[in-house]
């Protein structure tokens, strides 16, 4: 049933998204993005595929770091926001209005790096597995897959605290950013399942934000 209150919230979500995510992650997200951009742009001029670019926060860092970026998002509205954010630099980016599940149509081994920020946690398990396999295929052997996302922390105590704050946090996340996500249990394991070689994993914010870098085996 159509509910106007809900729609009002959803409608204004893209506006609140950035501010909401900053607040929710206590500003840590920009650190994660900085680290992600560093990992992705080790060599200048790298061909980087970013899936789920959203409002373009990470896209902007990638472009500044000198990458040649293909950014995709399934939402026209988000893409428009990302373009606006990048201003003049937007012209150098290839923008694709597509869902991550369609990257299997891109040519194999055509990118040096693939990045995904806060994108896998919006998907179900089967979609995630599919997308990770597809990422492994479109990145050249020896290239990297970089994942930045919300995760369930390791360790009994942290997990318990996480479970406790999860419900209010999810409610807050929805109100502030219009997002309902399910934190990943073990992104490194999922990357391995997709045939990738995990090289490093870093965590922030009590272990709830992770950056995982993996290599496509030759």
């Amino acid at each position: 049933m159509s509910s106007l209150a809900l729609m009002r919230w959803l409608e204004s979500a893209p506006d609140r998204y950035d501010a909401g995510m900053r607040l929710l992650t206590l500003g840590r997200l920009s650190r994660v993005h900085r680290a992600a951009a560093e990992a992705a742009c080790a060599e200048p001029g790298a061909r980087v595929l970013e899936i789920g670019c959203g409002t373009g926060a990470l896209t902007e860092r990638l472009v500044r770091a000198g990458a040649r970026v293909t950014a995709l998002d399934h939402s026209a509205e988000m893409l428009e926001r990302a373009r606006t954010r990048l201003g003049e630099r937007a012209a150098g980016v290839e923008w694709l209005e597509r869902s991550a599940s369609e990257i299997d149509a891109l040519p194999d081994a055509s990118y040096d790096v693939a990045v995904a920020s806060l994108c896998l946690s919006d998907m179900g398990a089967s979609e995630r597995a599919f997308v990770l396999r597809a990422l492994a295929a479109v990145v050249r052997p020896g290239g990297a897959v970089v994942i930045a996302d919300e995760v369930v922390p390791n360790g009994g105590l942290r997990r318990a605290v996480h479970a406790l704050v999860r419900v209010p946090q999810a409610a807050l996340g929805w109100l502030l950013a219009g997002a309902v996500s399910s934190p990943l249990r073990d992104p490194a394991a999922e990357l391995r399942q997709a045939g990738l070689r995990v090289q490093s994993e870093r965590r922030w914010l009590g272990g709830t934000l992770a950056l995982v870098v993996a290599e496509v085996p030759a």
Binding site: S2, S3, L4, A5, M7, E11, E77, S99, S126, A171
Partner: protein, 375 residues
């Protein structure tokens, strides 16, 4: 499958908290014992929707593809850009159904038509989608009818059950807020206030169509009186006054809310975009009848010679946008209150078929906004 207790409490909780997303794991499910020729039904990942669908399909062998709609029900998700072509394509491609069935035909809930463009799904992943009945309960009959919808299956119903559900949805948060606002200062008030809010919601939705227009003024007057009563009753002292004001404000919010947005029977009047009018360009219409097929309010009538539709019942339109989104000829569009046309493509790209974001995105809309800003 019998109704289990855990199902029952989830039904109650989810009906009361319908305004909050309640996600369930997206992916492939099955009911009965489906095989490679069994029907494929797509839905969103709102827990209540999926469980109701499973119950409705009792006795049918079918595959259920749960798309990631942000844990929101189908109509809201489709209108809000959370259940669009993309989520459907992603679900069909990745859930594993392609390995289980030989055909590529999927049935979508009709109410997904505000967000999902059927022909784009087939272009992008090869699946042919049809919009089935508006309500899951009609699916067995729909399949028995060889995928034919009756007129009744197209219409959204707003009977006693739907009204009571909607009343619960409103009563639960308002009763809770009122009780919580009163508890620290006037604990004795909590229960009567919660009870009052519940009774009010039930009365409001059951008698919805009988409350005379202009409802808004009527509700606002009622709210002002109630707020005044609360403040008076609260008597002396700052805390009591604060409670009274808080209770009054909640009541005012409840009473002045534009309920027409939550009912499928009426387009409201609070918001500019709700005065949009659906218009048909008969020159472009070629009588494919996609609009007729998805309109939940049966606003269209088919005409032959020349073959095209006519908007026969303007007054029923709830501005859901489904017809505009589906029309392959761009023959339908909305005109805003000043008669400016809002292009079908703007509606497709920006979703939220009931609301104003798109107006901002359209060139005329931008102008309108700027004018409004300089005034």
């Amino acid at each position: 499958m019998s109704l289990r207790w855990s199902d029952l409490w989830r039904d109650v909780a989810q009906t009361a908290l319908r305004l909050v997303p309640w996600p369930t794991e997206p992916g492939l499910r099955s009911v009965g014992d489906p095989g490679p020729e069994s029907p494929v039904v797509v839905t969103g990942n709102y827990d209540l929707t999926v469980r109701r669908l499973v119950r409705a399909l009792r006795g049918v062998d079918a595959w259920i593809v749960v798309a990631a709609s942000g844990g929101i029900n189908v109509w809201c998700a489709a209108s809000g850009g959370h259940l669009t072509t993309h989520q459907v394509v992603a679900a069909l491609k990745t859930c594993g159904v392609e390995e289980r069935v030989r055909h590529r035909r999927a049935v979508l809930p009709q109410l997904a038509a505000t967000g999902v463009i059927g022909r784009d799904v087939s272009r992008r992943c090869g699946w042919k989608v049809r919009f089935g009945p508006a309500r899951a309960d009609d699916l067995p009959e729909y399949f028995a009818n060889r995928d034919q919808k009756t007129d009744a299956m197209r219409r959204v119903r707003f009977g006693v059950v739907e009204r009571l559900e909607m009343a619960c949805t409103w009563a639960a948060p308002t009763a809770f807020l009122l009780a919580a606002a009163a508890a620290p200062f006037r604990p004795g008030w909590s229960i009567p206030l919660a009870g009052g809010a519940t009774a009010l919601s039930v009365a409001l939705f059951l008698g919805y169509d009988r409350i005379p227009a202009p409802r808004r003024t009527l509700f606002a007057a009622g709210a002002a009186i109630l707020a005044a009563v609360c403040v008076t009753l609260a008597g002396g002292g700052a805390p009591a006054l604060a409670t009274g004001v808080a209770a009054g404000l909640v009541l005012a919010a409840v009473l002045t809310y534009d309920y027409s947005g939550t009912t499928p029977i009426e387009g409201g009047s609070h918001f500019e975009e709700r005065r949009w009018r659906i218009v048909l360009d008969p020159e472009r219409c070629d009588g494919v009848f996609s609009c007729w097929e998805v309109c939940p309010e049966a606003c269209f009538e088919k005409r032959q010679d020349p073959r095209r539709v006519e908007i026969a019942y303007h007054e029923r339109c709830v501005r859901c946008g489904a017809c505009v989104v589906q029309c392959p000829k761009d023959a339908l569009s909305f005109n805003d209150a000043d008669g400016r046309r809002i292009e079908p493509d703007v509606i497709r790209r920006f979703k939220l078929n009931l609301l104003g974001k798109r107006v901002v995105a359209s060139p005329q809309g931008k102008q309108g906004q700027e004018e409004a800003g300089t005034r």
